[in-house]
């Protein structure tokens, strides 16, 4: 390679007994996109934090454009031309786009701020790379995709020649992600070098020139994109062959849940508009849609955290009023929330407390919590659902996302619910955990549980669902049989074109 802009040599870093990076070397050429592929905890973020000067490596060195970078100095990394786009944005929502971009670029001691020069530079960059923004918009008013664009612009504004993107698509919709990829390729063509951290195989294959695979802190492989396949990468990343489970044919049973004309109004807006669906025992009904189209409201309604404005809900053949959480739990509705960190767990509480929190009445006598029974319950989940990385009394925050999700699945499925409400159950999980979650959902289906799967992942819905309905702007399409649709048809349905969809109930 002739134009090496970045050279990471033999970097190792350990935290206590945990070797997060073990002798990793990585180089990056001008105009190249390198994907850093690995499961959660493989050491990708640690490596990039070392590059960016957030961590000091135990051994090894980083050099940019042939110059060695002093360890542990983020400012040196920025001025050498390294820009970082974090997974969780480091922007201030109460400032404008321009203010956010200019923050940190001017001396604190300068009297005025040269706003007009800053604006000109920002607009130049935005035009050059086709990253459209309104410099005066308040950041908090922008969509997540736009905020990410601002984060990229901020890096470019600091004259970054090397851009590191940490799981950039984790927060984006499919469409936003596609736009991002074409922008990235365009930036590479203009001479920027990019490192792209991901655990999603499709993205990596579609975007990168070269792929470096990390596993357990070690560099296990390096492949040119043309010389590898998704299957090979998956195996390299996980360390063994991963196969997603396959849905077997089955005959659905009784209707357990029926919604007729359900409307939910809040803040003067109809979040759900006259929604109809039927859910049968032993089937998976997939609700697919781009996020923000009302699926979160539907999930909240069925979870018992909000009420409805109009319509009928029939549960096991009986009409019910507004569900409360206690009703939902006691009548056998298992609930997997969309955002497991925000809604699914209380991070600072113990695993066993998280396991029993929604069913405390069952685990208490005369107002006193039965700690022993709670720990026994958690132990059953940990054993039955292969939750690794914690004991019943350790804080749940210490679990990885996949293991946390397995615990949430476990606390719902262990009591064999009649209905399982699963909102984005595999979001943000790595390949191994996705397979485990899918397997559990299909097992529940086989055992007669009616599953309502809310997801924006086409592959997931097509793999798990028997029937599919699309949600667009708070309206639900008629259902289609999953055997008779392809991705293209679903794409159209998600865009609101469900013309002659057949109701296959």
């Amino acid at each position: 390679m002739t134009d090496t802009v970045l050279d990471i040599k033999n970097v190792s870093k350990s935290f206590g007994d945990n070797l997060a990076n073990d002798d990793i070397s990585l180089s990056l050429a001008k105009g190249e996109i390198v994907a850093l592929l690995g499961e959660n905890g493989a050491g990708k973020t640690t490596l990039m934090s070392i590059l960016f000067g957030h961590y000091v490596p135990d051994t090894g060195s980083v050099s940019v454009m042939g110059q060695a970078l002093p360890a542990g100095k983020p400012r040196a990394a920025i001025s050498a031309g390294v820009g970082m786009v974090h997974q969780h944005f480091s922007l201030a929502p109460n400032l404008t786009v321009l203010e956010n971009v200019m923050t940190g670029t001017e001396s604190l001691w300068s009297i005025g701020s040269n706003v007009s020069a800053g604006r000109k530079k920002l607009l130049d960059i935005s035009q050059r790379f086709g990253l459209k923004v309104d410099p005066d918009a308040r950041l908090g008013d922008l969509s997540v995709g736009e905020q990410q664009r601002v984060e990229i612009l901020k890096a470019l504004y600091n004259d970054a020649r090397i851009l590191v993107l940490d799981e950039p698509t984790a927060v984006l919709t499919k469409l936003e992600a596609e736009t991002l990829f074409s922008t990235l390729k365009d930036m590479a063509r203009q001479g920027l070098s990019l490192i792209f951290i991901s655990h999603k195989l499709d993205e990596v294959m579609a975007t990168a020139d070269r792929i470096v695979v990390l596993r357990g802190g070690r560099q296990v492989a390096e492949r040119k994109v043309g010389e590898t396949s998704k299957a090979e990468l998956a195996e390299l990343m996980v360390g063994r062959k991963v196969t997603r489970p396959v849905r077997e044919a089955s005959t659905p049973g009784e209707i357990v849940l029926e919604a007729a004309g359900i409307t939910v109004r809040s803040g003067g807006v109809d979040r759900l508009k006259s929604v109809d669906f039927r859910l049968r025992a032993g089937e998976v009904l997939g609700i697919i849609g781009v996020s923000g189209n009302g699926q979160a409201v539907l999930a909240q309604l069925l979870s018992g955290t909000i009420g409805r404005s109009a319509g009928d809900l029939v549960l096991f053949g009986k009409g019910v009023g507004d569900l409360t959480v206690a009703d939902a739990v006691s009548c056998g509705i298992g609930r997997i929330p969309e955002d497991r960190n925000r809604d699914g767990v209380i991070g600072e509480m113990a695993i066993w407390e998280n396991a029993v929190l929604e069913r405390l009445p069952e685990f208490s006598k005369a107002g006193l919590v039965d700690r022993k029974a709670g720990i026994a319950f958690a132990t059953r989940i940990i054993e039955g659902f292969d939750v690794r990385g914690g004991s019943p009394t350790s804080r749940i925050r210490l679990l990885s996302g996949g293991n946390m999700q397995k615990l949430i699945l476990g606390r719902n499925l262990i009591e064999r619910p009649k209905i399982l409400l699963a909102a984005q159950p595999a979001r943000g999980l790595d390949e191994g955990a996705v397979a485990a979650v899918h397997e559990r959902i299909l097992e529940a289906r086989k055992a007669g549980t009616a599953v309502l799967l809310i997801s924006e992942d086409l592959d997931e819905v097509m793999a798990l669902a028997d029937r599919i309905q699309a949600i667009v702007g708070g309206r639900l399409s008629p259902s289609v049989n999953a055997e008779h649709v392809d991705a293209q048809r679903l794409g159209l349905m998600m865009a609101g074109e469900w013309g002659g969809a057949s109701d296959a109930v």
Binding site: F15, D343, I346
Partner: protein, 349 residues
């Protein structure tokens, strides 16, 4: 550089950091003491002997610790549920005046065993009411309770000041603004004869254990902890957020009111506007020092009282300005807070 939560705390760390904190605080205070022209090490010795050197000083320290335990618990319970009750001082005074008035007028003549528990209820109830108002404003109109509870302190103190210079004024006090004395049967029994130490200390410690039990063992405790740590997660798990906060507010306000009641029944016997040297506010520091742990509150209150009494005695006996005593107290509390922080977090680079 970032802070990272420690998963395991070694015994050495837990024991050594607070000691280092005290040494650091004393070292800084030493500069001021030396600047005031007093021998530094003698001054340090005086802090210790003024707080624990004699039977009198030791009982005085413990007497000071009793209300601090209760106001510390009031803050700790509320903060756990993310109810920012800064109004402990006002609740303290309202509890004190309510109990004093009830004793002088309503329950006068009732036997101790009946009257004292009744007064506890009255005082706690007064504190409760003063906190329920800001909570209602928060739940109904999203008014920030930090502001309302803080400002109600001044309202409460001026209200008490009005009462003891008006309808509740003691006619036998030669014109001084103070409330009528409580009934003799309402005075708390002494824990030790010939001292000011009363059974309030025992009551406070028992309550600390009781709250520890409630927080760790009961459904309400687990739910209120969840509500404080992650409100939206708690809602998803079916915790009634509003109801939980109301109960928490009743406990918190009640404890601060009870602190005032016990202080007036145990120590002075009547209410003046200097009944509390900031017990309500110091309770917040105590709660933070204890990391909101109810049992830790007892120790933190003892430490705080020691510094109050010790630094005060030091400045009196060494003849150095009282503000140096105040600075010493503040320094020790600040450095102890830092120490508590570092027993839980480490710096990582």
């Amino acid at each position: 550089m970032r802070f990272e939560r420690r998963e395991h705390r070694s015994t050495l760390l837990v024991v050594a950091t607070p000691i280092l904190a005290v040494i650091a605080a004393l070292a800084i205070a030493g500069v001021l003491i030396a600047a005031a022209g007093a021998p530094v090490f003698e001054a340090y010795w005086k802090i210790l002997t003024s707080a624990f050197g004699s039977r009198l000083s030791a009982t005085e320290t413990l007497t000071r610790a009793s209300p601090l335990i209760l106001t510390g618990l009031a803050a700790a319970v509320a903060f756990r549920a993310r109810l920012w009750n800064i109004g402990g001082e006002g609740q303290f005074y309202l509890g004190a005046i309510a109990a004093a008035a009830a004793s002088a007028h309503l329950f006068a003549g009732l036997p101790s065993l009946l009257q004292i528990p009744l007064l506890f209820i009255v005082g706690a109830f007064a504190g409760m009411v003063l906190l329920l108002v800001p909570l209602w404003l928060r739940l109904r109109f999203s008014v920030d309770e930090v502001v309302t509870t803080l400002l109600l302190n001044f309202v409460a103190l001026l209200f008490v000041s009005m009462l003891i210079d008006g309808v509740l004024k003691d006619p036998a006090a030669f014109g001084w603004p103070q409330s009528e004395a409580v009934d003799a049967a309402a005075r708390l029994p002494k824990l030790l004869a010939r001292s000011r130490l009363h059974i309030g200390l025992g009551i406070a410690v028992v309550i600390a254990f009781l709250i520890y039990f409630v927080q760790t063992r009961t459904v309400f405790g687990v739910q209120s902890r969840a509500a404080g740590l992650n409100p939206s997660g708690a809602v998803f798990a079916g915790v009634p957020l509003g109801r939980t906060l109301v109960i928490v507010a009743m406990i918190s306000g009640g404890l601060a009111g009870l602190a005032g009641t016990i202080e007036v029944l145990g120590v002075k016997g009547y209410v003046t506007t200097d009944l509390s040297p900031g017990y309500g506010y110091s309770g917040i520091v105590v709660a933070m020092l204890a990391n909101l742990n109810p049992l830790g509150v007892v120790l933190a209150a003892l430490f705080t009282a020691t510094m109050f009494v010790g630094a005060d005695g030091m400045s009196r006996s060494m003849g150095i300005p009282t503000y140096i005593a105040d600075v010493t107290v503040a320094l020790s509390l600040l450095s102890m807070l830092v120490a508590v922080f570092f027993t839980q977090y480490r710096i990582r680079r």
